[in-house]
Symmetry: C2
Subunit: 258 residues, 2 copies
Amino acid sequence: MPPQTLSIRGTPLAGGRLPAVCAPLVARTTAELVTETRAVASKKPDLLEWRVDFFSAISDTAQVLAAAAAIRDAAAGTPILFTRRAQREGGQPIALDEPQVLAMYEAVIASGCVDLVDYEMDNDANLLARVRELARARKLPLVLSFHDFQRTPSTEQLSARFAQAQSLGADVAKVAVMPQSMDDVHRLLGATLKASESLPIPVISMAMGGLGAVSRVCGGVFGSALTFAVGAAASAPGQMPIEDVQAAIAVLRRATSG
Amino acid sequence: MPPQTLSIRGTPLAGGRLPAVCAPLVARTTAELVTETRAVASKKPDLLEWRVDFFSAISDTAQVLAAAAAIRDAAAGTPILFTRRAQREGGQPIALDEPQVLAMYEAVIASGCVDLVDYEMDNDANLLARVRELARARKLPLVLSFHDFQRTPSTEQLSARFAQAQSLGADVAKVAVMPQSMDDVHRLLGATLKASESLPIPVISMAMGGLGAVSRVCGGVFGSALTFAVGAAASAPGQMPIEDVQAAIAVLRRATSG
């Protein structure tokens, strides 16, 4: 089957073409987030990802909700992916335990200020089921993600990660790895292609770092529904300026539609 | 080992970065070739390929030599790859038999008006040996090429083609295929990566057509030393405008050097 694209309330991102472009928001205060969101949204990403683990007041749910509302307003209609990246998968250290994280997710999902939610597929199964239930109740697509900042798992393991996300009830499967060689990058693209052709949900992948840069530009051609690019500040190694990613994707689109 | 780059008389093309960009010249008359060469050279390709099988006076060696000299002059220093593409590998029909083609190669090589020579690796072994001898005598790098305009051979066959070129004495191995699926494109890139890491000569590859466009932008990252792009007119399906290819390659270079 053809690769699936990401949709928000029935509207496909990026006009249904792969990949959509997502820019992270990583400011530490609400005021800085507003400034960052305005600056980044003006660069026309298809999606914004609020990385709440960078937010200094993450332990105060009222402040998190105020920030979510402020971002929603500053985003001027650009949809928002809400993500607390776990420290063991490359996120910032936070003072919350996992049940407290769940309470924050519940409040933010209920606020109506975000459009998609990301949660790591390796989290406790009961907590994961709860996030899935919260997202479904509000009809927010759930991204179940896996990140390896050290290496690239075997091709079989990569395929298993995409399938695992789907079997856990994900609406979108995301796999991010650190390549040690171009062969690792090639395998990641191959596993992405295979998953995008065999799974009924959109898949997202990237090889991080300089070696993996090609995956951020060309991943869409191999079935990745989303690529992350820098609007104001990077959230992971190897992210490229959004203007560069948009330009290179436009080149590939012109070539493949011609 | 790291992938090899193309060099002309000891000077690496594109500053030794992969891929260099080659624009074809396909005009039918000397006057039109001069106009085409000037227009294309102004777009700063690293290399020009004169596809002599498009030249209407190909049967008249004196006219071929005059055209070669005119192109050399109009190229304003851009190096020139000389290619008669055989009809069975996607070239134009010509009135010369293969020994006559060899005589033309000999005259053009002796003229000093070209810098590299391409010849199909599937040509008669004795004729191929003669082209190799002529090129070596003038110290011109020899590209031995293989093209499949219908399909993409198996991964093993692709690897064998790169190795065959090297075993036949090529200074550069070129493999161009037509993909029927993105998996074909992925396999071509994988075989290119492997060949570029294992062979002592530069390798060139591309997947043609719209499906293969990604290989013309990203092939260099997977070890291809050269990509073909359109200056004035295309010589094969899927070639993209040189401005687009240069822009996308620049994006990837910025990302990988950062």
